[in-house]
């Protein structure tokens, strides 16, 4: 069995993003996706703090601190890129103009519920940032995450135990073991990493899975 590395997961997600989509990549692992979109395929990256057409990090020494991404790292602007204020930026998100948002998550439920902002009901000061707006507003929400927690607990579950970010928001999940679609009938497996069997996947998933052949 060969679980995908983070880089391979990013490449797997990038493969499914068609030319012309406006895409927001969440902070953390999802940002790696940008490096795997081939330069000849025009995908327009959105950053919550008011950028469309965001480019890669500048070379060392060429940082412009007026131009940062949502993770507050210096970035660049592609030709054709634009700047706008926060209400317009979130109108793009909340108004359903963003084709895809890729988010990390603690848990995703079989009905598409996502938990990715607070790790406990008792955490009184968790940082939500734009997570709830993105999860509720983008046309599609894909989650990119490890299939299980570090100590082996499933992150794909019947119902989320962590506080929800949004209800029924996720349509697809890319993990180090599989690609799954959220359907009316629960998780549908679309693809498996090399050497991963359905039996193994069922053992590390806390919700029923529909096999590829059942599609």
């Amino acid at each position: 069995m060969e679980p995908l590395s983070r880089t391979q997961m990013a490449a797997r997600v990038a493969k499914d993003i068609p030319e012309g989509w406006y895409v927001n990549l969440g902070i953390g692992i999802p940002t790696l996706v940008a490096d795997h979109v081939p330069p000849e395929r025009e995908v327009v990256l959105h950053s919550e703090n008011g950028i469309l057409g965001m480019g890669p990090a500048p070379e060392k020494g060429a940082e412009d601190w007026w131009l940062i991404n949502a993770g507050k790292q210096p970035v660049t602007l592609h030709p054709g890129g634009s700047y706008f204020h926060h209400a317009d930026s979130f109108a793009m998100i909340r108004g359903g103009h963003i084709d895809l948002c890729v988010l990390g998550a603690f848990e995703v439920a079989a009905n598409g519920d996502i938990a990715n902002w607070a790790t406990s009901e008792n955490d009184t000061a968790p940082a939500v940032g734009g997570a709830m707006d993105l999860a509720a507003g983008a046309k599609r929400v894909w989650v990119m995450m490890e299939h299980t927690t570090k100590d082996g607990r499933p992150k794909l579950v019947e119902a989320c135990s962590y506080p929800l970010t949004a209800m029924r928001a996720v349509s697809r999940i890319y993990t180090n073991l599989a690609v799954l679609e959220v359907t009316e009938a629960g998780f549908q497996v679309l693809d498996l990493a090399p050497g991963v069997t359905m039996e193994h996947l069922r053992g590390v998933t806390a919700a029923p899975l529909r096999d590829r052949v059942e599609a």
Partner: protein
């Protein structure tokens, strides 16, 4: 002659009252009106409600204002971030009220305030902890929560260029919350890197029209902002 420029920081901060709600622009360090925050510290108003994306970092700026005990409540989307030490201390000690608002809802609540809309419905936060206790309603079979406009008594804004009518431009991602806050406050105070002649910012280039601006002070900053 309309001239919104002020000579010094004391004039910029004149009349900011105790108990005010102060909207503070910026996302990370970009577009954050550092000198105006220093001016507010100097001016002395207390019992403030601060609206900003973050709850301050390090021990300067917003964090210093908080550390001095001048902030009663903070309304933000991302309280905990690298270096938000003062927030952590005060919050744990129960010396600071906190209202966490999804970032888009935060921006829209201020836009609504500026546009005369007292409240609106949004699907963001419906069915979550942040939607609890809010009026909710279904539209098209989907749950929405009602959010109230968030007006400010004062907005502190950082601009790139300003003219004497208060027309503003911003620098790259330094725009962020600034234009929305400028329209949402009763008194909008601007620090601008460049003060230019009336007409030098052509109409098409104006991002925040001067109608939303009350006072402008030129603050020339060095690297990395020059």
């Amino acid at each position: 002659m309309i001239d919104k420029t002020v000579r010094d920081m004391a004039a910029a901060m004149e009349g900011v009252k105790d108990g005010s709600t102060v909207l503070v622009g910026g996302f990370g360090a970009a577009g954050q009106p550092d000198e105006l925050i220093e001016g507010l510290i100097e001016q002395g108003a207390t019992d403030l409600t601060i609206v900003a994306n973050n709850a301050g970092t390090g021990r300067t700026g917003l964090a210093r204002l908080m550390e001095l005990g001048r902030v009663r409540k903070i309304i933000c989307s991302f309280p905990r971030s690298a270096g938000s030490v003062v927030f952590e201390e005060l919050y744990k000690a129960g010396k600071l009220e906190l209202e966490i608002v999804p970032q888009g809802t935060l921006a829209e609540r201020m836009r609504a305030a500026g546009a005369g809309i007292p409240a609106f419905f949004t699907p963001t936060a419906a069915g979550t902890k942040l939607g609890q206790g809010k009026e909710s309603r279904d539209f098209g079979g989907r749950a929405h929560v009602m959010e109230l406009a968030l007006p400010g008594d004062v907005a502190l804004v950082e601009a790139w260029e300003a003219d004497r009518w208060g027309n503003l431009t911003y620098r790259r991602s330094g725009r962020n919350f600034n234009p929305v806050m400028a329209m949402a406050a009763a008194t909008t105070i601007v620090q601008a890197m460049h003060l230019v002649d009336l007409g030098a910012i052509e109409g098409e280039r104006v991002v925040t029209p001067g109608i939303f601006v009350n006072r402008v002070i030129q603050i020339t900053r060095g690297a990395p902002w020059a």
